[in-house]
Amino acid sequence: MKTTVTLIAPPTAMQPGGYIATAYADRSQPGTSRADLEVQESTAGWTVALRWRAPQAVIDATDNPRQFIDGAALFAPTVKDAPWISMGTPDMPLEGVLWRADRAQPWRVSAQGLGSVQRAEAPAGWTTAARYANGTWQLTFTLPAFAALTVTRQLGFAVWQGAQSERAGLKSVTPGWINL
């Protein structure tokens, strides 16, 4: 399938810890307003391509503690219609993949609620191909065995623009699950 998704900023009021909710109360708009999504399923597994405008890419920040790096993540619920904006629950975890622009390999990620994301080494064969040109990121995930997606056939994603200090819950996400 191929579609363009309008992205939203998750409400800062729900961010855990208390600080982000008040300190970033003024942040209601997503850094990226929309993104193109293309999903292909084959016998070899899943291929998911994302494309979004990022006027200023941040690929490497080893030199600057103030700079945040661009990133993107795909998630699928392990149980159909698990909460998306609040990142699943302990009973309904999410599974996914996280790309960060400074890394050659993605992480496998899982989540059981806000602030609970765990990163792990990606399974063999999970790769990303990223290209930045003309102010646009084109990112393709190749995911031979993405079990949660195969089971629930629901997908959500998030992108972070480092230039806009997006990180953690300060991000641009799909408003809900996209049913494949």
């Binding site: 810890g17 600080y19 008040t22 503690p65 953690a168």
Partner: protein, 335 residues
């Protein structure tokens, strides 16, 4: 039982030698990503501090919520770790040699405004040194700021730690800390901070900054230990007070405020007023500083009169081993 380790620093004894800074840096913080970072630094007050103007933002609102803070800039506020012309100095045997010096482009650094101070010369010029480290606050703003719960305040000793495995490098803690004592490591993409030398504490040994201090001005112990130096100086003698209590985080590093020589008037006569303006000290330590200063002056008077002063005896550190009172003072000695 919740216990709190704390430190008292007697600013009357700090000579700005940076032995604490180096002891800490050598022990914990030599990696490339944190080359700019100093868990412990000593800055000159009055001054802009390190990172530059750290005290101008941050802290808690009256309702307890944490104010929005900023991540300091590497070049303008922290100062990029200086690179030296080692290759030109040491590795070129031909031609004229250069002296060892930092390469150009340095804009700021720890204690950049060393010994500048303030006040008209010679009437009231003054400065003193302010050693700074993580305050291991009772209500740490950094802990509140982390959406991942990756910052922990230990119940057995109150030490505040960043769980390096849980940290995803979001830096809300760096923003939120009003003392700017959480440092981001851009190489590893995680935040780091003073660990109060926890592995030493677990051996019954005081932190490196305290043990190495040539001026013997640091005291370490549990806040609730009536036999220890902290309880005495903070609660009993009331001569040690926290830095910027108005930030609302409940710091557990306390300072004995600095006495200063009197100024002189335009005729050169002593004014009888200390060179460091009490109002400036109040801006650092809050209104409690006035009582603390009065108590210190009174105790010093006692000593001058030849009477005993338990406060002065402890501060002077006649018996240096009494500067430290830890849970498990094992016989093993570690510097």
């Amino acid at each position: 039982m919740n216990r709190q380790l704390a430190m008292v620093l007697d600013l009357n004894k700090c000579l700005g030698c940076q032995t604490c800074t180096v002891a800490c840096k050598k022990l914990w913080n030599q990696d490339q990503g944190t080359d700019y970072a100093y868990w412990n630094n000593v800055e000159t007050a009055p001054g802009k501090g390190f990172p530059r103007l750290w005290q101008e933002t941050g802290g808690r609102n009256a309702d307890g919520s944490v104010k929005r803070g900023e991540i300091p800039s590497l070049d303008a506020d922290y100062g990029r770790a200086w690179k030296f012309n080692h290759d030109k100095t040491f590795f070129k045997s031909n031609g004229p040699r250069e002296w060892l010096k930092p390469e150009s482009g340095t804009q700021w650094g720890p204690n950049w405004d060393e010994d500048h101070g303030a006040g008209a010369y010679p009437q009231e010029n003054h400065y003193f040194y302010l050693p700074r480290l993580c305050n291991h606050c009772t209500h740490p703003a950094c802990l509140d700021a982390c959406p991942r719960g990756a910052i922990e305040k230990r119940s057995d000793n109150g030490i505040v730690l960043v769980n390096q495995d849980q940290c995803h490098g979001y830096r809300f803690c760096v923003e939120a800390c009003p003392y700017k004592k959480v440092y981001f490591d851009p190489k590893r993409q995680v935040s780091t901070k003073c660990i109060f030398c926890l592995p030493r504490i677990e051996e019954g040994v005081a932190p490196a900054c305290a043990r190495q201090c040539p001026g013997r001005l640091r005291f370490v112990g549990f806040l609730d230990d009536p036999a220890g130096p902290i309880h005495k100086l903070v609660n009993e003698y009331k001569v040690a007070i926290p830095l910027h209590p108005e930030f609302g985080t409940g710091p557990n590093v306390y300072y004995v405020p600095p006495l200063s020589p009197e100024g002189i008037d335009d005729e050169g006569r002593p004014t009888g007023k200390p060179r460091i303006p009490p109002a400036y000290l109040e801006s650092l330590f809050g209104p409690a500083v006035h009582d603390a200063m009065a108590r210190l002056a009174a105790e010093r008077e006692k000593t001058t009169r030849g009477e005993g002063s338990a406060v002065m005896d402890l501060l002077i550190a006649y018996d240096w081993s009494k500067n430290f009172a830890l849970d498990d003072a094992r016989t093993r000695e570690v510097i």
